[in-house]
Amino acid sequence: MIELKEMLKSMISLPGLSGYEKPIRELITTSWEPLVDEISTSRLGSLHALRRGNGALPRPAILLAAHMDAIGLMVTSITDGLLRFTGIGGIDPRILPGQLVTIHGRNDMPGVIVQPPDYLLPSSQHRKSIAMEYLFVDTGLMADQVKQLVRVGDLISFRQEPMELKGNTLAGHSLDNRASVAAVTQCLLELSHLQHAWDVWAVATVQEEVTLAGSITSPYEIKPQIAVAIDVTFAKGPGANDWRTLSLAKGPCLGWGPNIHPYIYKRFAETAEKLDIPFQKELMPRHSGTDAYGMQVVGAGIPTIVISIPLRYMHTPVELIAMKDIERTGRLLAETIARLEPDFLDKINWDEVEDEEK
């Protein structure tokens, strides 16, 4: 039996930066294997896990995409034994100085991110949080030793340990988007004691943080009838309080906007209401910033929705989530899937749903 919080803590203790997802893929494979009928890896490294439904063939399929890649850093050059680096994915240089990191050189080794003193920097950088190109990673080793152990292109990942905070919350790096992988895992657990007509493809995608590559390629191979991206979204917090933010611990967020098929939204909302699962409506007027953006236009097009888990301090090593949101997301996914009738696809229509604010 999988203990969800422990699984998530293991996941956020691993690297698995975009393009280099192997360590996290192996852990997810172990967790998902008992819950699915087939499991394979795509040519780009996305994990494809099929849980068959019991409907008649040809059976429709729903794809659940949660990206497993994490943001991080990459060595660009080595100067006097110190490592210069660039970001993989959206890294905010303001939060970097003082961070503990792991350098994945010939062996893994610890390091710290440091900034030169103010007076040694160009005047454009004085008294400011300084740009990434002026930051270094110090391994403690002498210059000639560093050259033996680290090469240009080696990865650097955050070293922050998972931290359980009060109120059944968890902080750590890579909760974007391992929290959603946990939610998909919860969904598979719930489906194992539910009947479902549709095939369910649980997909842990790669490279979402850089190019959405997994979400563009996996649906091409799987050809699902519906695609759901599960990702994190901005939770309300200090200084973050407008319409773009949602409440922590108040339930999963159903996306609404051009990236979302309104009928799929309706079906999830109805299920949530019926089962008293609290949920929030997340407005996505433009690019949803998730795998759904890639998936929606694969092949002849796929009806798509985004389901988000609120998260504070996104893209920092102390991202913070509420476990309850993850469990509820998993349950809402499973219960909605179990209610998908074999001919659901014939009923859905872009035009019939009105955007009614309650």
């Binding site: 975009s18 393009g19 280099y20 795509s42 040519r43 780009l44 996305s46 990459m74 060595v75 660009t76 050059s77 080595i78 210069r84 660039t86 993989i88 190109e133 090469r151 240009v152 292109g153 490279q207 850089v210 190019t211 590559a213 997994g214 563009i216 390629t217 996996s218 091409y220 191979e221």
Partner: protein, 331 residues
């Protein structure tokens, strides 16, 4: 090979207008191909060999298009206003010469600046083709031109306005010439419209549906005074791309290329490029995706009319690709 490079770089062919350069390339590769075709995007596709038991279907792409300009308006005194095709930067334009597809030449001039220390914006510049009115101008709205500079051979170092990416077109042609037999099925794609969004490689990769995609393109360097912070330099070997701003190369493909270089004692460099991308970006996400990477020729002053490469890097790129493609590739 220098003669081939000179011939390729001096042919005018901005993105979308690759007919002439495609014919130049076709003449070079026709006799070497098992099969040759042009697709709907104008890509020239050369197949060599057939996939055998342990072989792979591999697509290689070097783009034949170059950056350039397009006339938007010819005023009553014959001055032509223009827009850009691909990543042209204004500070490389003033005083540059351009050559139109119809052979007409022009020089880029600019309006008087209030502050001579400023750079002209595109809106403040025009092409002077020596005309005095629209009627006697050899160019009209929609005509395209490439930058015009003669090829220079400095011995080890070569200079041209279109090393990006004709030098790599030459690398692919030489590689094709060198490969005697391979267990792999090789597709040499001379791709179009890379400079306007890797568009040719997108359709070529879909059509070919290869197992692996490798772009061959230029990359920047960090070896000039107070230049970019980058660990790639001229003369230290072709660069094997790990990351650029459009993609992360497949790590197994990177390792396979590095191992091949080490085994054959070919110098190489590990490349992390902060700005720019290549056809590999398009190949990686085609269909259900494929391992993709790039072999780069280090180049100074990219997208200026004087791009500089080191000839040894070019030769070593040919050696690396020839060795890599001739053998079984395990990813």
């Amino acid at each position: 090979m220098k003669t081939l490079i000179k011939k390729l770089v001096e042919t005018v062919g901005p993105s979308g207008y690759e007919t002439r350069i495609r014919e130049v390339v076709r003449a070079e590769v026709e006799k070497l191909a098992d099969e040759i075709s042009t697709d709907a995007m104008g890509n020239l596709i050369v197949r060599k060999g057939k996939k055998t038991k342990n072989g792979l279907k591999i697509m290689l792409a070097a783009h034949i298009d170059e950056i350039g300009v397009m006339v938007t308006h010819v005023d009553k005194n014959g001055f032509a206003r223009f827009t850009t095709i691909g990543g042209v930067r204004p500070h490389t334009c003033y005083g540059s010469r351009v050559r139109f597809l119809n052979g007409a030449a022009g020089v880029i001039g600019g309006e008087r600046l209030d502050n001579q220390a400023n750079v002209h914006s595109f809106e403040n510049m025009f092409i002077d083709v020596g005309a005095t009115s629209p009627q006697d101008s050899p160019v009209k709205i929609g005509d395209v031109a490439a930058f015009d500079r003669p090829f220079e051979d400095l011995g080890d170092r070569l200079i041209s306005k279109a090393m990006d990416d004709r030098v790599c077109v030459a690398v692919l042609i030489e590689t094709l010439r060198n490969i005697k037999s391979s267990i792999n099925e090789l597709y040499f794609v001379f791709s179009t419209q890379e400079e306007v969004g890797t568009r040719g490689a997108t359709t070529a990769a879909f059509g070919i549906d290869p197992d692996v995609g490798i772009a061959v393109d230029v990359t920047g360097t960090g070896d000039t005074p107070r230049g970019a912070v980058m660990d790639v330099k001229l003369g230290a070997g072709p660069a094997i791309k790990i990351k650029d701003s459009g993609m992360l190369a497949d790590p197994n493909l990177v390792n396979a290329l590095v191992n091949c270089a080490q085994k054959n004692k070919i110098p190489y460099q590990r490349e992390v490029l902060l700005g720019g991308s290549t056809d590999a970006r398009a190949m990686q996400i085609t269909r259900a995706g494929m391992p993709a990477g790039c072999v780069s020729v280090p180049t100074r002053y990219i997208h200026s009319p004087s791009e500089m490469v080191d000839f040894h890097d070019v030769e070593n790129a040919v050696l690396l690709l020839t060795a890599f493609l001739s053998e079984a590739i395990v990813l």
